[in-house]
Structures are given as C-alpha cells and as structure tokens.
C-alpha cells in the first residue's frame, strides 16, 4: 500500500512542480513582471505548439532531428567505446593518442559545422557526422579511463579460469565499464542534442533546430520555447530509455537507495 502510494506520489509531485513553474511563468507574464518579449507566455507558446501540431511541422521537425540525433549518437557511442577500448587496452596507443585527443576535445567543435557541411554536403551525412564527432571524444576519454578502475583481482581470476581477450572484455571489462558507459550515455545525449540542433541552425529546412532559428530570426521567444518543449519531451523519453538500460545493465549491483 505504502509502495503504491509512493509510486503514484512521485509522478504527481513532479507534475506539480511542472504546473507550478508554468503557473509562475503565467502569473509573471500576466502581471508584467516577466515581459512577453523576453520571456514569452505560456499561452502563446501553447498556441504555437498546437499550430505546429496541427500543420504537422512539429512531427516533421521532431522526426528530422531525432533521425540525426539517434544515428549520430549511436555512431558516436560506438566509435567512442571501440576506440576507448583500444586505448584502454593498449597503453602505447593511449599514450600516442593522448595529446591528439586532448587537442581535439579542446577544439570548439560546435562551430565547425559549416566546414563539415561543405565537405560532406548539407544533408543528413554531415549532420550525423557532426553529432558523432562531438560526442565520440568524451566517450573515448571516459571509456579509456574507466579501464583503470577495473578490479585487478577479477581480471586475474578470469584469466586463470581460461578467458581469452574477447572473453575478458565481455566478462570483466564490459560490465565494469557499463556504469561508465551508461553515465556517459546520459551526458552525451545532451551534447548530441546540442550538436544536432547546432547543425540544424545551418543548412536545414526542417528540424527542431531549424524551428528555433526561425524563432530567433523572427524575435519570437514563444516559438523558441515551443521548439524547446519538443526537445525536452524527446530528451525526457530518451533518458527514460537510458535509465531502463541502466537498470538492466546494472541489476547485479547491491540495492541502492
């Protein structure tokens, strides 16, 4: 009973917070405390959203962005995990790549999209590459440093039990790194969104990033909010998936509060 109560209470409380925030926003906008030009208003944003919903703009934009995001993110994660693994296993490769990675990581990659676009064309490929490029470096760095946290006893044990390198990776490195990868997955999801949107600022005629640029161009904060609401909802859903994966990957862990 108590559990049931707790299970329903939490979403209610969360909903409550959302409603309260919108309430403050609405009140601020009515009372003039928040001026419409800088902060927009809930109803105008709502109206914009429903208009987009009706004419299909929103769906089209969301699909376009999601496509870039997911493909780019998957590629970025995969490249990151693979390269990170190589660097984690070979100290030589790691030492060679170190400065290059640090350099690349330090480069403001978000403003490089026009270069990519001209090189690869103003279509999906360049946007996906952009997303993958932005997130793969942090993934490489986290994964390769995760290797050092792996318990040496466990490694010794499976090697003695007869595990070869692939098995060691699967049975020891993989699960030990899972928690790192999952945490990276969350963070990179955020960066992937940034990159996808930044890419859509340029060279796009659909997508949520395009819609926000339009909002900026028209000085219409409501339009920016409306696009962001869509972004946030998608993000929330994706994060749900990540945490489901997290629960599945890490179910061996002692119960945590």
């Amino acid at each position: 009973m108590a559990r049931l109560l707790r299970a329903t209470l939490m979403p209610l409380a969360q909903l409550g917070l959302v409603v309260a925030l919108i309430g403050i926003w609405a009140w601020g906008s009515v009372s003039g405390w928040l001026d419409d030009f800088s902060f927009g208003s809930p109803w105008d944003t709502g109206a914009q959203l429903s208009a987009w919903l009706q004419d299909g703009t929103l769906l089209e934009g969301a699909v376009a962005t999601l496509q870039v995001l997911l493909i780019g993110w998957a590629i970025g994660m995969a490249v990151g995990v693979v390269v990170g693994t190589v660097l984690g296993l070979s100290s030589f490769a790691n030492r060679v790549a170190g400065p290059y990675l640090a350099f690349f990581n330090g480069m403001p990659r978000l403003i490089l999209y026009p270069f990519l676009a001209i090189w690869l064309g103003f279509d999906l490929t360049s946007k996906v590459t952009m997303v993958a490029m932005v997130i793969s470096v942090p993934v490489i760095l986290t994964v390769s440093s995760g290797f050092r946290e792996v318990d040496a006893d466990l490694l010794a044990n499976v090697r003695l039990l007869g595990a070869g390198m692939p098995q060691t990776i699967r049975d020891v490195y993989g699960p030990s790194l899972a928690i790192w990868v999952v945490s990276t997955a969350r963070v990179t999801l955020g960066y992937a969104f940034q990159a996808a949107i930044a890419a859509e600022f340029v060279g796009a005629s659909v997508g949520l990033g395009y819609l926000t640029v339009l909002g900026q161009e028209r000085l219409d904060v409501n339009q920016i909010w409306a696009a962001l609401v869509a972004v946030v909802i998608i993000a929330w859903a994706l994060d749900g998936l990540v945490s489901a994966a997290d629960r599945r990957l890490l179910r061996w862990m002692p119960a945590r509060g």
């Binding site: 676009a117 001209i118 103003f122 340029v202 060279g203 000085l219």
Partner: protein, 341 residues
C-alpha cells in the same frame, strides 16, 4: 529594460555601447567613418563609446533590449518588431538602403545563364539562415524572375565564411551573400555577380526600397539624453556624408579606423566590395520615408493591424536627422529617386 547604466561626470552614461551586427562590416561604413565625431562625443560627455559586434542583427538588438548596449545599429524590420513587442524604440537615422546583399552565381554558369535569375530554376539556392534578409532578398529576386520558390532546393549555409567554399564546391548554384563574401567569391574566380540589392535601379523593381540598417534608440534613452542622442545622429550623418561620394576605395580606407583597414588588407577585393556597397549610401541621406516603411515591412512577417498601431507610427523618427543637417549646416545630399516594385 536593463540596469540603469552608471553615469559619467556630465550626467551622461559612463559607457555608450553601440551594438552592431558584425564588426567592420563595409555596409556600416558611415558609422565607422564617424570615428572622429564619436571621439569628440567621448570627450564632451566623459564617456566611452564601444561597438560590441554580433553575428546576427537580432543578437545586437537583443543586447540592447537586455540593457547591455545603449544603442543598436540594426535592421529596420527586426527593430520594429521589438518596438511593437517590448519597449518603445525609435529608428533615428538610416545608414544604408537596400538589402545589403549581392547574389553571386557559380562561375560555370556565367556564359550560359549570365544575370538571368530565371535560368536558375531548379537549382540550389544559398543564403545565411532561414528568415534572414539574405533569404528574403534571394526569394524576392527569384519570385520576381517567375520562379516557384517553394520547390527550389534551398540551403542555409550558416555563416558568411561558408559562402565561397559552398559555391566553389558546387554545393550551391547561386547564393545571396554579404558584400564581403561576394567580393571574395568574384575575386577568387569562384562566382560572378548576378544582382546587387544595394543598387536601387536593379533591386527597386524587385523589392522596392528597403530600409537597411540604422541607429535604433530606446525612447527612454532619447528622453534622458536628448543632446547626446542628437550628437550621435550628427556623427552618423557626418560619417555618411564623408563616405557617400568617395569612389576610390583607397581613399575610403583612409577615412576608416585602423581596425577596419587591417581587416580589409586585400585591396582588389575591397575595391569590389566598395563598388557593391556604395549604392546603398547614395540612396540615403539618413532619413526614411513612409513609402520605404511600407516596402520594407511588406517582407517582415507582421501581424494584421500591427503596422497601423500608434507604436509603429512612432517608430520612424526623422526629426533628429533633420535637426542634424541644420545643426551641422550641411546641405542635404541628393538621393536617388525612390522606386517601388
């Protein structure tokens, strides 16, 4: 409104920031050429004048609305939109007319298509970003040539620096560029000019006389610092007069602050740039007419009734310019006749 800026010794703000969309843009030559007058103002009021530059006009305006700049040098439509939605603003002096852009097509089309925009039907069209003046002017030109814009392949290249490579690599067939990119593209042999929107004789029939950029002031600033406001306008009007009649690019460079000269080291390219830009000044004396107001707002995505509101009515303010010519004792220059599409 932002925080009240600290006051200098003479009661003027300690700093007057003029937010502009882009630094050392040739289109704003009158502003840069007003440097000596600005220095005098700094002296007179014990203030400092700065020019924070932004990638886009919107951001410059935003900076002013957010209170971190006192004055904005930005495009007419953007400022009007803000004036309707937020604080009352006034457009006190016009700096250039026309869209400030040049359509450039890839060299490979030069012999075959020339300046016939209609010939680009079905091709790829480049501009900076969706909703920008670059897109609008390109669309106007295309539609004027009888092209159905909605079926064209359009690409927002993002930044100005992407124009030349995009054209060169064949990613776009024709693009509406800022003058600097256009000059560069042509100088590099990548493209050839198709249409200069600064040239009223060409663009007038297409989009009418567009009010380009100008100084925009919050009304509060005007009321608080009437004298300073007037002096700023005087400076720009002086600057405008200074550059208007200069045909020799080197002579022009000599009028510019060192920063500008540094940024325009390549003189043949700058010569082209100047050739493209100058018509934008020939068609203005700093003031703006109601007809121009109508032409410009026609492309501005305004709501019904918005433009007839009293706020819109107060936006355009030629009085300071008129006053400037009186105070300065300068004759009003002859302006090219207005043209409507």
């Amino acid at each position: 409104g932002g925080p009240d800026p600290a006051r200098g010794p003479t009661g003027a703000p300690a700093e007057v920031a003029i937010a502009t969309s882009g630094t050392w843009i040739t289109t704003f030559a009158p502003l840069w050429a007003a440097a000596p007058e600005m220095a005098e103002i700094e002296q007179k009021y014990g203030t400092t004048i700065s020019y924070p530059g932004f990638g886009k006009g919107n951001d410059a305006l935003t900076a002013m609305l957010g209170g971190s700049a006192a004055v904005c040098n930005c495009s007419f439509n953007t400022a009007l939109k803000a004036a309707l939605a937020k604080d009352q603003l006034a457009y006190v002096v016009n700096i250039n007319k026309g869209a400030g852009t040049v359509a450039v097509a890839a060299t490979r089309f030069e012999t075959e298509r020339g300046t016939d925009i209609a010939a680009f039907d079905g091709g790829t069209w480049g501009f900076t970003s969706a909703g920008s003046i670059s897109e609008i002017s390109l669309r106007l030109a295309a539609e004027h040539a009888g092209i159905d814009w909605s079926v064209q392949d359009t690409i927002a290249v993002g930044g100005m620096s992407a124009f030349v490579p995009a054209l060169q690599s064949g990613r776009v067939d024709i693009a509406m560029m800022d003058v600097a990119s256009a000059a560069q593209a042509i100088e590099d042999g990548v493209g050839y000019p198709v249409l200069n929107t600064n040239d009223l004789s060409v663009f007038g029939p297409i989009g009418g006389t567009l009010l380009g950029n100008g100084l925009v002031l919050p009304e509060a600033f005007l009321n608080d610092y009437p004298e300073l406001s007037q002096d700023l306008v005087n400076a720009v009007v002086t600057g405008l007069g200074r550059v208007r009649d200069v045909t020799d690019p080197d002579e022009l460079l000599a009028l510019m602050p060192p920063g500008f000269r540094e940024a325009r080291a390549d003189s043949p390219t700058f010569a082209r740039e100047w050739a493209f830009t100058r018509p934008a000044f020939l068609s203005t004396d700093g003031s703006s007419s109601d007809q121009e107001f109508r032409d410009t707002t026609a492309h501005g995505d305004f709501g019904e009734g918005e433009l007839s509101s009293p706020r819109a009515g107060r936006f355009l303010d030629n009085s300071l310019v008129d006053q400037a010519y009186q105070q300065l004792g300068l004759p009003r220059p002859v302006v090219e006749p207005q043209s409507t599409p």
